[in-house]
Amino acid sequence: MKCDRCNRPAVVHQLVIKDGNKHEMHLCEAHAAEAGIPNPGKHPVNELMSSLTTQVKSAGMPTCKGCGCTLTDIRKSSRFGCPQCYDAFGQATEALVRSAQGGSSQHVGRAPLGQAPENQSQYESQRLVQELDRAVRAEQYERAAEIKSKLADLADQRPSKKEDTK
């Protein structure tokens, strides 16, 4: 069962009576602590057991420093926990994004204001190289020529700061 307030597993289950209505409350460890509810699972023995299993779990298990998600969490939910997860789980990120994005794995397009547009053209050329490779393998030579000329254009533009992301 999931926590009422987030998607972590619920560890505290309580029956609450509010305004004469009964309703069940399920909270994860963090949210239970926030609500000031003691966690019944936090008996010394349980705590020891859970710390042992966490140790076993986290040995060799990549964990995101930003949000505490493990690789298993990410794989199970197919969702990232925080922006740092993207770098914390390199290969898994790649696999997850590619499968959701029809094989694409390089951003092209706008960036936040003030972020180096040179980077953008650099990535754009990376993407074009990938595309060129695909076109050649598929024997689409006209397409390949088109991409080559785009790459040449891009190389010409590089020194002069162009790129208006508008």
Binding site: R5, N7, R79, F80, V97, H107, V108, K166
Partner: protein
């Protein structure tokens, strides 16, 4: 590169009801919504509101705290396509900022920290995108978005990374439905990485033969490329296909079609109890009748508006109270008779 504006023309009105553009954004240095604690969710709201305040010269919006809003009003916001169903039904700190013209909304703490939507009449995704693009830029005076040079704008769900932009058009496809060609369109859409949803988005049944078509891929293609393909190729392709289906119906079964649209109009002009599905179904045929010239009236704008006005939340607002299903059916029939009587 020049960026022509959309020219909202009546030309597409026979098939296109509305267009939308959406941007998903998350604040850097914060967990995504599904992992955020209550305190963090409040902090996200504060930051989003600061961003909106910084953007005030670009867009004036009113903040609605959804935790403090009753179910009736949340439903109304959802029926007007200003918030999603999950956002209406969720618990916890969340809200929506709505522009005065109600054609722009910013959901906070839905699936992403911030989701901006702009809505337009007809085939106008470019105008919609311009609007949220400006808002996005203005908000950055205060808000710092999570961005990765390789993965683009970061999101909890890998389906929303990269540009994090989605263009959609609400299309009326009764011709394809009646000729049984809709599955072909669905298959073609799938091959083109397009999502096809119902009148109320994800998970909603198609109601009134409305289909919301949108791009599924958000990574590896710039906003302009996506927009061009959507605006100039994909949607026009579906429009032409629908028109061909309508022409075929008119050629092969004009009398049946004429009979049917007149019957549907007659029923809604005199019924005393109407369920929402029935209203949507018959209005859909009336709309087809208007666009094909089989019906002289009612005006298309009136019919377009009714698809929303017959929803229960709208009827509740009109009558100013919570309605039982039976009462809603009666209120719906009253509204339809009044609106369609002298059509």
């Amino acid at each position: 590169m020049s960026h022509p504006k959309d020219h909202p023309s009546k030309d597409d009105a026979d098939v296109v009801l509305t267009s939308r553009a959406r941007l998903a954004r998350n604040l850097s240095g914060m967990p995504f919504v599904h992992l955020a604690s209550e305190t963090q969710l409040h902090a996200i709201i504060d930051k989003a509101k600061q961003g909106l305040a910084a953007a005030e010269e670009t867009e004036q919006t009113n903040w609605i705290d959804l935790e403090e809003t009753d179910a009736l009003h949340r439903r109304l916001l959802y029926e007007r396509h200003l918030i999603s169903r999950p956002h209406a039904d969720a618990n916890g700190p969340r809200g929506v900022a709505v522009a005065q013209d109600a054609m722009l909304s910013i959901m906070v703490n839905e699936e992403d920290h911030v989701r901006m939507h702009a809505l337009g009449t007809g085939l106008t995704p470019r105008n919609c995108f311009d609007r949220i693009k400006k808002l996005d830029e203005a908000m950055q005076a205060s808000a710092e978005w999570a961005f990765h040079p390789r993965w683009g704008f970061q999101s909890a769900c890998p389906t929303n990374v990269g540009t994090a932009v989605r263009f959609s058009a609400m299309l009326h496809l009764p011709g394809l439905r009646l000729t049984g060609e809709l599955d072909k369109v669905r298959q073609a859409a799938k091959d083109l990485h397009l999502a096809v949803r119902g009148y109320y988005g994800e998970g909603s049944e198609s109601s009134g033969n409305f289909y919301q078509v949108s791009n599924q891929i958000t990574l590896g293609c710039s906003e302009d490329e996506l927009l061009d393909r959507f605006r100039e190729t994909i949607v026009p392709g579906i429009i032409e296909y629908e028109r061909a289906a309508r022409r075929m119906l008119l050629k092969q079964s004009a009398t049946q079609l004429e009979d049917r649209v007149h019957r549907d109009l007659a029923v809604l002009q005199s019924a005393r109890r109407v369920k929402v599905d029935e209203a949507m179904r018959r209005l859909s045929m009336i709309r087809l009748g208007c666009c094909t010239g089989l019906l002289d009236g009612p005006p298309l704008d009136l019919v377009n508006g009714l698809f929303q006005q017959v929803q229960t939340g709208h009827l509740q607002q009109l009558t100013n109270r919570t309605l039982t299903p039976e009462e809603a059916q009666i209120a719906r029939a009253d509204l339809l008779r009044a609106r369609l009587s002298n059509a």
